[in-house]
């Protein structure tokens, strides 16, 4: 009665060791793994809130979907896989070991006769003589043979390919080993400490020295994977571990100092190598090691591997010249800044905070340009594999900053240090965007003949100055009208129009002009009116340029194409200022670059276990697939021989081999 209801332990054992369970586990693990590839892992929690909304954010957080591969349920699946594999080994091991050793020489005559693969031969040889010949043959075929005396003759029991079973052990033990190695490098210890309240994730943005001990991990921590950014000339004795929505501080047993960080480039401008010159100091400050690391070439010290992971600006000093864009003056002011630091700017329009975010010494840009397609055989072949990089150009340094107003609203700007050539003319470029997922829209400020934006700035000042408008209008009217029309009503009208156009433009650029036209002019005449206004604006601006040059003590501008373009570009640029969103423009005059290197520091004691497991896995897989286990019996009686053959796996090769052995037996027996 007792055996009718198997115990729970026994059922569990049966379940764990069943093939169905193993295959289900493999499938579940595969499906579970997909989750973490579809959902970006370990992003800042804010991104998830934006993506899913507060409700689903919490649901997904509870499910551990932001770090699937360390979630409890995922580890549970892995644990089941390890358990199932271990039980499978445990269950099969004794049997397989016996199989490997055994020749199965006790097989009965009836069962041999019942084999599917059997062959009979008639022989004139004495049993002993035939057995010797057959034994030699089988040995030559790679079989181990055992000769057993039986009544009326003897039995040859032979086996080959026992390593197949060994392959099974190796491969399955390897899975267990690899999982154990992985667990050794996982964060189970921390998770346990966290659950017991011994450790806590730090979520505040505070200097690392102020992070309390509960969020720090000791240098003795056996396994971690952290990162740290070190500016040139500085050092660090901690690494940061990103965990969930916060971080932990890992104290290192040494101090890493960065002497220099270098980027080398190919001739096309793509990065070729990232290298950091590091120095390691022990806790007493004694230098213990000096090395250069690069991508693919880490430094391993004291079981901790130091990798070149990323790079950034380490606090470049910037010397800037600023213009107040909406002032009627072209005067400048100086600003000093450091990347990753803030500066306050006070102006009549209110206080602004300048947050310098980045500096880039190179910018490789695709400057367009038609790629001529060859029309001969090369076109049919898809062209030459030699890429044409003529359109790639280094446009020089740039820096980025955020301008935050007193209400906390910020826009991001990216200004190039050097002018850029576009459509054959040169401009200073300043990009602006409202949020990081937009691309920059560029303000282009034209350069004058001397290669500076001073003319633009002076002209801008004059155009924005209401006091100068009557003079501009008067000069414009005189230039536009023949002498006999001077001092007439026509001149007054023209002066009035010019003043009006200039005033409108100064309040809102082309947008304001077109708004005015739409409001005041009937639809059919709008195009003509726009043309007229534009003409008035351009000619007046030319007059404004004369005034600007005069007050700057410069000779009057030449009436040539270059001046024409300067006028038109200034008007376009000035119009764009109204959507530029900042009252100032900052030009980079000088910089003192400081780079920072992003290092990754890892200690993974499980690595060698995983590698050993991998070796076993490889061996195991090859043994299992390429060593075929098979057995041959030859029962020899006087005048008669019976060959029977079996294999664990029945393949076409097995059929072929059986046919060969059968033929061989016929030949031997003859």
């Amino acid at each position: 009665m007792k055996s009718a209801t198997p115990s729970f332990g026994k059922s569990l054992f049966e379940l764990l060791s069943s093939m169905r369970f193993a295959i289900s586990l493999l499938s579940i693990l595969a499906v579970a793994s997909i989750v973490g590839t579809v959902l970006k892992q370990a992003e800042p929690y804010n991104n998830y809130i934006i993506q899913f909304g507060p409700y689903w954010f919490q649901v997904f957080e509870k499910l551990g979907l932001y770090d699937v591969y360390h979630a409890g349920w995922f580890l549970l699946i892995l644990a089941f896989l390890v358990a199932s594999t271990s039980v499978c080994i445990w269950r099969n091991a004794p049997n397989f070991a016996r199989e490997m050793k055994s020749f199965r020489e006790h097989v009965s005559e009836q069962s041999l006769a019942a084999f599917k693969h059997k062959h009979e031969a008639v022989t004139a040889y004495a049993p002993e003589a035939l057995a010797t010949r057959a034994e030699a043959y089988l040995a030559g075929q790679g079989y181990q043979v055992k000769r057993v005396a039986r009544e009326e003759g003897l039995l040859l029991a032979a086996k080959a390919g026992k390593w197949n079973r060994l392959g099974y052990f190796l491969a399955h033990a390897a899975i267990v080993l690899i999982c154990i190695g992985g667990l050794m490098d996982g964060n189970l210890v921390f998770k346990a400490q966290q659950m017991l309240g011994m450790k806590k994730i730090e979520t505040r943005d505070i200097p690392q020295s102020q992070v309390p001990a509960i969020s720090r991990l000791s240098p003795a921590n056996p396994s971690f994977r952290g990162s740290v950014q070190i500016p040139e000339g500085s050092s660090a004795d901690v690494a940061f571990l990103n965990v969930a929505d916060g971080y932990l501080v890992q104290d290192l047993p040494f101090t890493v100092a960065l002497k220099q960080f270098r980027i080398e480039h190919y001739s096309t401008g793509q990065p070729k190598s990232f290298e950091s010159d590091l120095e390691l100091f022990d806790q007493s400050g004694k230098k213990i090691r000096e090395a250069t690391i690069a991508v693919n070439h880490p430094l391993i010290h004291d079981g901790i591997a130091i990798y070149q992971a990323s790079f950034a600006d380490g606090g470049t000093k910037l010397t800037l010249r600023g213009w107040n864009l909406f002032s009627a003056q072209a005067a400048t002011f100086d600003v000093e800044g450091v990347v990753h630091q803030n500066t306050t700017l006070s102006s009549a329009a209110g206080d602004y905070t300048l947050e310098f975010t980045d500096f880039r010494p190179f910018n490789i840009e695709n400057m367009g340009g038609e790629i001529d397609t060859p029309r001969d055989a090369m076109a049919v072949l898809g062209g030459s594999p030699v890429s044409d990089n003529k359109h790639l150009r280094n446009v020089g340094p740039s820096f980025q900053y955020k301008l935050r107003d007193s209400r906390g609203q910020a826009r991001e700007y990216s200004n190039y240090m050097l002018p850029m050539e576009l459509d054959g003319r040169w401009y200073m470029m300043s990009g602006v965007r409202d949020s990081p997922n937009e691309s920059f829209r560029y303000l282009r400020m034209p350069l004058d003949a001397s290669g500076s934006i001073d003319s633009f700035m002076r002209l801008r000042g004059v155009l924005l100055n209401p006091d100068l408008r009557p003079e501009i209008a008067a000069r414009f009217a005189r230039q536009a009208l023949p002498e006999n029309a001077w001092n007439t009503e026509i001149e007054d009208k023209l002066k009035f129009s010019a003043t009006q156009v200039l005033a409108l433009f100064a309040t809102g650029g082309f947008q304001a002009l077109s708004g005015f036209i739409e409001k005041r002019v009937p639809e059919e005449e709008r195009e003509k009116a726009a043309e007229t206004y534009l003409r008035i604006l351009e000619l007046s601006t030319f007059e404004a340029l004369q005034i600007a040059n005069r007050s700057a003590g410069l000779p009057p501008p030449a009436a040539d194409d270059a001046t024409g373009w300067l006028v038109r570009d200034t008007l376009n640029s000035l119009s764009d200022l109204f959507v530029y969103g900042a009252p100032i423009y900052l030009q980079l005059m000088q910089f003192d670059e400081v780079k920072a290197s992003g290092l990754q520091l890892t200690r993974s004691p499980g690595k060698n276990v995983v590698y050993f497991g991998s070796l076993l896995l490889t061996l195991g897989v090859f043994f299992m697939f390429y060593v075929r286990e098979r057995r041959v019996w030859i029962r020899i009686k006087p005048g008669h021989a019976l060959l029977a053959m079996s294999a664990a796996k029945h393949t076409l090769d097995f059929d072929k081999e059986f046919a060969q052995h059968a033929q061989a037996l016929d030949t031997l027996a003859k």
């Binding site: 590839t37 579809v38 030559g140 075929q141 693919n296 898809g382 594999p385 890429s387 090859f622």
Partner: protein, 379 residues
């Protein structure tokens, strides 16, 4: 007695003079490369080159046609190198380079021949014509030869562009697609000879044609054939091992899936009289998945070891890594069912076909839809 027993002699005793000549050519060629270019290699790369000598020699002994392929590819590649003479501009002047054996010309020939071979194999299958099937096989062989020449010459061309630009052509999606076509075709040719059946060529060549279609689109629409310098992360000798090993896996899984299609059609009576017996198709399918699984295992392990050196951890659950694991688990389950349960038939054929979708996603889909550390060769 010994003769009649048909006893296979040990491998070394079975070798012919040609086998030894082949081994000598391999050793001579590779040692020459080592003496000439050794100065540009690090210790690992030298070790890989030296280890290639026995590996290639034994591979040629094991699969005899490889010897001729190797010698033909080597000789024609050397002709191409001679035609270049160190001047990249010769690509558009020298007749042989321009129309035949510059890398791009050779790869386009490979594409054209694979497409022709596909049509020919199908015609042979439908018309039950041995002649057409043999022609398809010959075309496939020539295509493989041209493809290898293309890769070899491309390797050389990359160094002509700049000594610091040069690298083995397995670094981007374009190059590995060519590699995929070649490996898949060679594995198929091996099975074709081994099982003495040419009726499956049309099926396997279909997946190669799809890859060829991708190569053509990628070339003409995206200009992906241009040789680009390596990003720092790829500058490692690991690439020479990890990438080819992976593509043996991908190629084998692709063959298995196409055989799965043949099996399923045959099981429904479609083309059944023209195709080999289902047991034969099933057996090749199993062999393909077994070798694919073995190489995919090695490739993933090599990848993990490279990751440990480049990214600071042997396993980061990067999407590409995770999908490699999914592919591995998928075929592990397939093999368990087949080997332990002894199951055969349509279910496993279907599974092999579905497996190709999983593999394809791991191969291309991850690059297209998911971002991660493996973002080389984005579409």
């Amino acid at each position: 007695m010994e003769i009649a027993l048909n006893q296979p002699a040990p491998l070394l005793k079975r070798l012919t003079w040609f086998d030894w000549l082949f081994a000598a050519i391999v050793a001579g060629g590779l040692l020459f490369a080592l003496s000439r270019y050794g100065g540009f290699m690090d210790g690992y790369e030298k070790a890989i080159l030296l280890a290639s000598i026995p590996a290639l020699a034994v591979f040629g002994w094991f699969w005899k046609p490889f010897r001729v392929l190797f010698i033909a590819v080597g000789a024609l590649s050397l002709v191409a190198l001679g035609q270049y003479g160190g001047d990249l501009g010769r690509m558009e002047q020298a007749f042989l380079l321009k129309y035949l054996i510059s890398s791009q010309a050779a790869i386009m020939w490979m594409c054209a021949l694979f497409l022709l071979a596909t049509v020919t194999y199908w015609a042979g299958l439908l018309a039950r014509s041995d002649f057409l099937n043999s022609t398809g096989m010959a075309m496939t062989w020539v295509a493989v030869t041209m493809g290898w020449i293309g890769l070899m010459v491309r390797w050389y061309e990359s160094y002509l562009i700049g000594p610091d630009v040069g690298h083995i052509p397995v670094s981007n999606l374009y190059e590995v697609f060519v590699l995929f076509c070649l490996i898949t075709a060679m594995m198929y040719l091996y099975y074709e000879a081994r099982y003495q059946t040419r009726q499956l060529g049309g099926f396997v060549l279909l997946i190669i044609s799809a890859a060829v279609g991708f190569i053509l689109w990628y070339t003409f629409d995206r200009g992906a054939h241009e040789i680009q310098p390596l990003v720092p992360a790829l500058k490692s000798w690991w690439m020479k091992l990890h990438v080819p090993a992976n593509f043996v896996g991908y190629g084998a899984f692709a063959i298995a899936a196409m055989l799965g299609v043949a099996y399923l059609l045959s099981a429904r009576g479609i083309l059944a009289s023209r195709l080999p017996r289902p047991e034969v198709i099933d057996d090749i399918m199993y062999k393909a998945i077994a070798i694919g699984f073995a190489f995919f295992t090695i490739a993933t392990i090599l990848g993990a070891m490279w990751a440990a050196e480049a990214w600071g951890g042997y396993w980061s659950w990067d999407p590409k890594e995770t999908w490699a694991l999914i592919v591995w688990l998928n075929y592990a389950a397939w093999l368990h069912i087949r080997l332990v349960k002894g199951l055969r038939g349509p279910m496993l054929a279907w599974w092999a076909v579905v497996g190709l979708f999983v593999t394809t996603f791991a191969f291309i889909g991850v690059n297209m839809f998911l971002s991660g550390l493996h973002s080389y060769g984005e579409l």
